[in-house]
């Protein structure tokens, strides 16, 4: 009996434990996990190990011969071909040049993923086609008039500790000295700031290692604050500048009120780069036209192209931005056109600005991943010149100057700050880095990419002599920028490099006299002399300048907007977004408010009646939550088109000044009944013209 009792007790305990386990297990199991666990179908196909059978080899050989492909071509195809449904490893964010856009391209497939409208109205994205108070149009205006294009140059991904964090993308507009902020959750431009000092720029944009500031370097000397002066007054009245835009990561916006600029001599400042790690707290800007040439070919003076290239040396600008920030915060800036500018004199007396001589009209200045060296490419000099930040700091401390420039800025002694000069070839422009201790420099005139070995701590990573040219790969043709995978961060990946060629000449079918640019994918995975070109991608929309390549898994893009009624301008739920049941038309005097919902496959309401001259505000929400179920909304003849991505809310205001009956429709092929997704806007003519219209 006793044993029985004990057994019973034990069993009871076991049952109780089981029950408790079930309860805990049941509670802990989230519904989502349950759902995931249910998935049986639709998963991407697993790659199988390839083993070519003799008949397959024969087939492959036959195709290769028919298509005139050699073995290297087959290997290149194998390295880049990305089967349907397979995703790229990297995303390239490229400037779109005069298109005013940004392009996102998958690497290694080199497929265009999409464009992002930035400085130019773009109808597919409904960017700038939302009627008369469109916030996009408002932000594109300069002094009250629409500036409907931009010349995007240098994209800069936001960084944390000097590494891409995938949150934001900034890009500069050379033509109008503007900087845009793109939110990489929905890939939309959120803000454009216009530089209050200068009309055009070049050195935008570059970020400090934690994206505290976005650097916008200028270019052509002007009278700061959009002033006026003739070339006779160039030295006295013209100035250069560099602007530090404060970035508020929380808000995802540039904080203009906490931004400032530094006045610079009227040399033509060129590209910039922020220091990192060893050089954190500094940034570097190249310059040319230290000749202060003012051109005037029409008066028999040497043209700019000659006057600007006369001297053997120009000046690398070395700016202590952390100290400059202190000066700004201490109120040492004066206002020009309402914008705080630290004057040249302050910069000189407070030691914010130093020059280092650099060979002949350089273009890029690029900081090595460890932050210890700055590489300046000579453009008109066959070398890259490498400067050491340690030597720069030492020379500043020991006041090793070789003189002062016209404006009193101390010039550091070249030999005291220079670490190495590496002869690469003709027309070196820009430099990127990999994870094997190599640097890559574009050679414009040679039309080649040069791989060369770094010194310092990098020498441990490769088996070459430090600071030596290793190999050159010809590219087609006239390479400008180049971009290696995360190649301007503290931890480059190597693997791939993009040669951004300005000319394509014979690479593609002739597309009339205007040819596409040529993005070439270069395989930089193997060390030494092997560095083959894998793929040519024609870019037939604008002339791109710089691009950056980020690991795709760093991007945390939204598949749809977080909630239905989302305002993408404010990145928040908009209380004005019409909810189900609120659809309809209301009138207040001559103001008409339309509350509309778009859902597959109809708009509600479908008939909207207004009077000629009414001011119509149309609030419309895409009540969709499914990926890719995007709608459009256009009213023909009223220059209105919206892209209503799942969940998105938009507001359009226009004056109904053209009487008639206007079909409006969904411009995205959203569903099988997409053509039926339409309605009519009836603009009733003013009283006396009714009978005319009937006739």
């Amino acid at each position: 009996m006793r044993t029985n009792e004990r057994k019973g007790g034990k069993r009871g305990a076991v049952v109780a434990m089981l029950a408790a386990g079930t309860i805990l297990g049941g509670l802990a199991m989230p519904a989502g996990a349950q759902q995931e666990g249910r998935r049986r179908r639709g998963a991407a196909q697993e790659a199988k190990a390839v083993e070519l059978a003799p008949d397959q080899v024969a087939q492959l050989t036959k195709i290769a011969n028919e298509r005139k492909l050699n073995v290297d071509d087959l290997l290149a195809a194998a390295k880049t071909y990305t089967p349907s449904g397979r995703h790229d490893e990297y995303v390239l964010f490229s400037s779109g040049g005069q298109s005013g856009q940004v392009f996102a391209i998958g690497v290694p497939s080199m497929r265009l993923l999409r464009s992002i409208a930035v400085f130019t109205p773009e109808s597919w994205q409904g960017y700038g086609f939302a009627g008369k108070d469109d916030p996009v149009i408002e932000r594109l205006k300069f002094k009250g008039t629409l500036n409907a294009w931009g010349d995007t140059h240098h994209p800069a991904l936001s960084e944390t500790k000097g590494d891409y964090d995938g949150q934001f993308l900034f890009i500069g507009d050379k033509a109008n000295a503007r900087v845009a902020v793109i939110d990489l959750r929905d890939w939309e431009t959120k803000q454009i700031v216009k530089n209050p000092l200068t009309i055009s720029d070049h050195g935008a944009s570059f970020v400090t290692p934690n994206t505290d500031y976005i650097i916008e370097g200028g270019q052509y000397g002007t009278v700061l604050g959009y002033g006026y002066a003739l070339p006779e007054d160039y030295q006295k009245s013209y100035r250069g500048m560099v602007t530090m835009w404060k970035f508020d990561r929380e808000k995802g916006r540039i904080d203009e009120a906490n931004s400032f600029a530094l006045e610079l001599p009227p040399y033509w400042q060129d590209l910039a780069d922020a220091g990192k790690l060893a050089s954190d707290g500094y940034f570097f800007v190249n310059s040319f036209n230290t000749e202060l040439a003012t051109g005037g070919i029409e008066k028999g003076n040497p043209p700019f192209e000659a006057g600007v290239s006369k001297r053997d040396m120009d000046y690398l600008h070395i700016v202590d931005w952390k100290k400059a920030e202190e000066m700004f915060k201490a109120g040492k800036a004066t206002k020009i056109n309402g914008f705080p500018v630290i004057g040249l004199e302050t910069s000189i007396t407070e030691g914010l600005l130093y020059f280092a001589p650099e060979p002949k009209s350089p273009h890029g200045v690029d900081v090595t991943p460890d932050g210890k060296f700055m590489v300046v490419a000579g453009k008109l000099d066959p070398h890259v010149t490498v400067y050491s930040i340690d030597k720069v700091k030492k020379a500043i401390a020991e006041k090793k100057y070789s003189g002062k420039d016209t404006y009193g800025v101390p010039i550091l002694d070249f030999d005291a700050v220079m670490e190495a000069q590496v002869e690469l070839g003709l027309g070196p422009l820009h430099t990127q880095f990999d994870n094997k201790g190599y640097a890559y420099t574009s050679l414009f005139l040679d039309s080649a990419v040069a791989r060369w070995s770094l010194g310092g701590d990098f020498a441990k990573l490769h088996s070459e002599q430090p600071w030596k040219l290793v190999t050159k790969t010809p590219v087609q043709y006239n390479i400008g920028h180049l971009s290696a995978a995360e190649g301007d961060t503290v931890s480059p990946d190597g693997n791939y490099l993009i040669a951004m060629n300005k000319w394509s000449v014979d690479r593609f079918l002739c597309t009339g006299p205007l040819l596409p640019q040529n993005f070439q994918l270069v395989d930089i995975a193997a060390p030494g002399t092997a560095m083959p070109v894998l793929y040519d991608m024609p870019v037939g929309v604008g002339e791109p300048h710089y691009c950056q390549m980020i690991k795709a898994d760093k991007l945390k893009s939204w598949p749809v907007y977080p909630e239905v009624g989302w305002n993408s301008h404010t990145q928040s739920l908009d209380p004005r977004a019409p909810k189900k049941g609120e659809e309809g038309v209301t009138r207040d005097g001559n103001k008409v408010l339309v509350k509309s919902i778009a859902i597959r496959s109809h708009f509600s309401p479908e008939h909207v009646e207004v009077n000629e001259g009414d001011i119509v505000t149309w609030r419309i929400v895409a009540a969709e939550t499914t990926q890719d179920a995007t709608h459009g909304f256009c009213i023909g003849a009223y220059n209105i088109n919206l892209s209503l991505e799942p969940g998105e809310f938009e507001e359009v205001t226009f004056v109904a000044d053209k009487p008639g009956t206007y079909p409006f429709y969904c411009t995205e092929f959203c569903s099988a009944l997409h053509l039926e997704m339409m309605g009519y806007l009836h603009v009733k003519p003013k009283a006396d013209s009714v009978s005319d219209a009937r006739r």
């Binding site: 049952v15 998935r39 179908r41």
Partner: protein, 224 residues
């Protein structure tokens, strides 16, 4: 009155009898307890799943029913259903979903009560819990049938889709969609609850039938 109650509740177990045959009396109680726990846990687990598969939904669409709510791609499925004139899922089984948790709690308490009732009447108390899984499936079928057969004739695709009964368990299909439906963990726990309750009664009868008979005998003796 007291007699009627006594007849329903059944005889109590004498202390010495309980001491002598603890296992005999504990078994039904423990089985009922586990059954109750399973039923309670099932509230938190899905009772039914449906997966819809179509070319343009590579990840599939999912519908998951709990005793008191519906989760998954309800919004999208409603959106698609409007083309064929099916009412939105939120309108289905509104009463059942509102009352679901309370009904389960009631069944839980009734089974608990059954453990204390030592007469045949205990079966009556546990009957809802035993019948619950069958009732659930029947109700699901009822709603699927009601919804499928009563399509709005004014819907965009009503000309091309005839009324139909969606599949409750197994494979079905409508338009370009294939559907796969099956019962979920919560449902199987409810089934487990029913099975354990039935098993509990086998032991219940074995333990209390002799007691009942003895008590009846004593009563007859007293009457005589």
């Amino acid at each position: 009155m007291c007699r009627v109650l006594e007849a329903i509740v059944g005889p109590r177990i004498p202390v010495e009898e309980l001491r002598a045959h603890r296992l005999r009396y504990a078994t039904p109680t423990v089985l009922f307890m586990v059954a109750r726990v399973l039923l309670l846990v099932s509230i938190f687990l899905p009772y039914w799943h449906m997966e819809l598969e179509a070319p343009q939904y590579p990840k599939g669409l999912f519908l998951t029913a709990y005793v008191n709510h519906l989760t998954g791609d309800v919004r999208e499925i409603d959106g698609l259903n409007h083309y064929i004139g099916m009412r939105s899922l939120g309108e289905a089984a509104a009463f059942e979903r509102a009352a679901g948790v309370w009904m389960v709690v009631a069944m839980f308490l009734l089974v608990e009560g059954a453990a204390f009732v030592h007469s045949k009447w205990a079966v009556l108390l546990a009957l809802p819990a035993i019948a619950f899984p069958i009732v659930f499936v029947a109700d699901l079928y009822f709603w699927m049938r009601t919804f499928g057969l009563n399509l709005d004739p004014g819907a965009p695709l009503s000309a091309s889709v005839k009324p139909f009964v969606p599949t409750v368990i197994g494979e079905g299909g409508i338009g370009q969609f294939k559907t796969y439906a099956e019962m979920g963990t919560g449902f199987w726990l409810a089934v487990g609850c029913a099975v354990l309750t039935i098993a509990g009664f086998v032991f219940h009868r074995r333990a209390y039938k002799p007691l009942m008979e003895r008590a009846r005998g004593a009563l007859q003796e007293a009457a005589a």
